[in-house]
């Protein structure tokens, strides 16, 4: 196969070269930039003024860093776990056969193809304190007494963005989990039934173990998509009020593109990229490349 595979090598080399220049090198360059101070008016050079760990002290060493980090973790954990649980519940509904099942299941994907910046704006109007439909529903059902400032109250802002992100994440959880459930051989259930297993122990001893690879895939994808989330923050809170919903990826972007402190933006990006790479490593390790790719 080695001989005469010139065409294949050429195809692969082109793509790899492209990815190297526009993904690999930028990745390493972020780390280099994090040790420099970049004058926004003298950006057109590769090496800028070296400042050692100053950017690290100013960002990751600041008082703000801890709250940003914990916001990121809260956002990540709540998003991934709730969208998984809801998605699994929906998958169990959609695994039985009924008229229109495939169409209904497919329509859930609508949140996935809607431009996320538009999704953010839709949720702003739902969450609006004065005129939002959510406050209306909650007050008229008597669940809350006074309208909540979903996006303006520091106690709620992060959770409001989380809710919108869960809405975005439910469909792929549900769809991948349904496909996983459908792939379980039915004779396993029959055998369990013969052994007198009830619904719960069939779920516990047949469904769950067979679903492990799918669950690993879905949760990893959930983590990846959630760490990518940017548009919802941009549209809904801009990280506010007073940093209450600020997460790492938005903080980094804010430094680079709003206050033009590219060195600091790179520092936060470096920390976050390190985190993402570790998560990615776990994902690859636990699911083995052959299963993932």
């Amino acid at each position: 196969m080695k001989r005469g595979a010139t065409f294949e090598f050429a195809m692969l080399a082109t793509a790899i070269l492209f990815l190297l220049v526009f993904a690999g090198i930028p990745l390493i360059y972020t780390v280099i930039l994090s040790f420099q101070e970049i004058d926004p008016f003298k950006i057109n050079r590769i090496v800028h003024e070296w400042v050692g760990f100053e950017n690290y002290r100013d960002t990751l060493g600041s008082a703000k860093a801890w709250s940003v980090f914990s916001n990121t973790v809260i956002f990540l954990c709540l998003s991934v776990s709730i969208q998984f649980v809801v998605g699994f519940g929906l998958a169990l509904v959609f695994v039985s056969r009924f008229v229109g099942r495939d169409v209904m299941r497919g329509l859930f994907l609508v949140s996935w193809i809607t431009p996320q910046i538009a999704v953010g704006i839709i949720w702003v109007s739902i969450f609006s304190q004065k005129i939002g439909i959510l406050n209306y529903a909650l007050t008229s059902l008597g669940i809350v007494d006074a309208p909540i400032g979903w996006l303006t109250d520091p106690d709620y802002a992060l959770y409001s963005v989380t809710i919108a992100n869960i809405w975005l994440g439910i469909p792929f959880n549900m769809i991948f989990l349904t496909v996983g459930l459908l792939a379980i051989p039915s004779n396993l259930y029959e055998a369990a039934r013969m052994d007198g297993a009830n619904a719960w122990s069939r779920f516990r001893h047949v469904t769950l173990p067979s679903m492990i690879p799918t669950i690993v895939t879905v949760i990893s994808l959930g983590i990846i998509f959630t760490l990518q989330q940017f548009e919802l923050f941009a549209a809904m809170t801009s990280g506010g009020p007073a940093g209450a919903s600020l997460v790492m990826q938005y903080w980094s972007w804010e430094f680079s593109f709003l206050t033009f402190e590219i060195g600091k933006g790179s520092t936060i990006a470096t920390a976050m990229l390190l985190f993402v790479t570790v998560v990615g490593g776990f994902y690859v390790y636990f699911s083995r490349v052959d299963d993932v790719v």
């Binding site: 595979a5 010139t6 065409f7 294949e8 195809m11 692969l12 082109t14 793509a15 492209f18 990815l19 993904a23 990745l27 360059y29 972020t30 930039l33 970049i38 950006i43 057109n44 509904v93 056969r97 009924f98 008229v99 169409v103 497919g106 859930f108 994907l109 609508v110 193809i113 809607t114 431009p115 910046i117 538009a118 704006i121 949720w123 702003v124 109007s125 739902i126 008229s140 769809i175 991948f176 496909v179 792939a183 895939t217 990846i224 990518q228 940017f230 548009e231 941009a234 990826q249 972007w253 680079s256 593109f257 790179s266 990006a269 976050m272 990229l273 993402v276 790479t277 994902y283 790719v293």
Partner: protein
């Protein structure tokens, strides 16, 4: 009695599923309804579930903003991203099936990790690099950055389809002297064409909503896509025109939703074919 119970059971599935779907789709409904509300109605509490003074905000939006410009920029960017991504991604997926070896595994792992890098973080180093290449404020910069992000995704989705081609088919073709480009073009590609079309559609739809790189690299009004225009025109920090944003959004979104509804079943199978065995 038992038949009644069975009918109940038969109906329970679709009814439950339908209700959950309606609840899930509520934000989309709310989006369209809001786009039709009148200027006074929008500030009223309780909010109306149905527009009482239906207003065609779309007309106002078309008069106020250069909708055609924004949409054509979105289409240019989305077309560029999907062509470049597929152009490089399809060939690479095939090559990663044909070529074997330890270093291929390393490439695959790298690709999985590359796919996870958040765009908002990659925007910073790419900004400096594009500035040095004099590519800032060009749609090409957005296309290149977004493609580097989606090529790994294409490889992850498409490689399994190439892997499914039976060895015998490939061997038979090779015996007939069909190798290299011709093997790809006339044997392998036709066999995975459906997956390629679905993945192309998926990449296109995502690219149509591209925001981070456009927001980071572009600043000329004439180059901005609709995703950025939606925010800058109607959803600024100080002044928010909710009905305008929603109306602009319906113009932006509706074509994509129509395509989506038409191909959604294929989309589901294309998405899941490779990822779940």
């Amino acid at each position: 009695m038992s038949t009644a119970f069975q009918t109940h059971r038969k109906l329970a599935g679709p009814i439950l599923a339908g209700l959950l779907l309606l609840l899930f789709l509520f934000p989309i409904y709310w989006f369209y309804i809001t786009s039709l509300k009148g200027p006074k109605e929008i500030d009223r509490f309780p909010p109306a579930l149905w527009p009482e003074e239906p207003t065609l905000n779309i007309l106002r939006v078309i008069a106020e903003a250069n909708v055609a410009q924004y949409l054509s920029n979105s289409l240019i960017i989305a077309t560029g991203i999907s062509l470049l991504t597929m152009g490089l991604g399809v060939g690479a997926s095939w090559a990663l099936v044909r070529i074997r070896g330890k270093w291929i595994d390393a490439i695959l792992i790298t690709i999985v990790v590359l796919q996870m890098l958040p765009a908002a973080l990659m925007a910073t180093p790419l900004y400096v690099i594009f500035s040095n290449l004099f590519l800032l404020d060009t749609r090409a910069a957005v296309v290149i950055a977004a493609s580097a992000k989606s090529i790994p995704f294409v490889i992850i989705l498409l490689r399994p389809s190439f892997l499914k081609i039976p060895k015998e088919v490939i061997e038979a073709a090779a015996v007939d002297g069909c190798t290299g480009w011709r093997l790809f073009r006339f044997i392998a590609f036709p066999l995975v064409r459906n997956s390629v079309i679905i993945i192309f559609a998926l990449i296109f739809m995502q690219a149509y909503g591209e925001y981070v790189f456009s927001r980071s690299f572009l600043n000329s009004d004439g180059k901005l896509p609709a995703s950025v225009g939606l925010v800058t025109e109607f959803f600024g920090q100080y002044e928010r025109d909710v009905t305008g944003a929603m109306a602009f959004g319906t113009i932006y979104l509706t074509p994509m939703l129509v395509v989506f509804v038409a191909i959604q079943r294929k989309l589901v199978s294309g998405l899941t074919a490779g990822a779940v065995k």
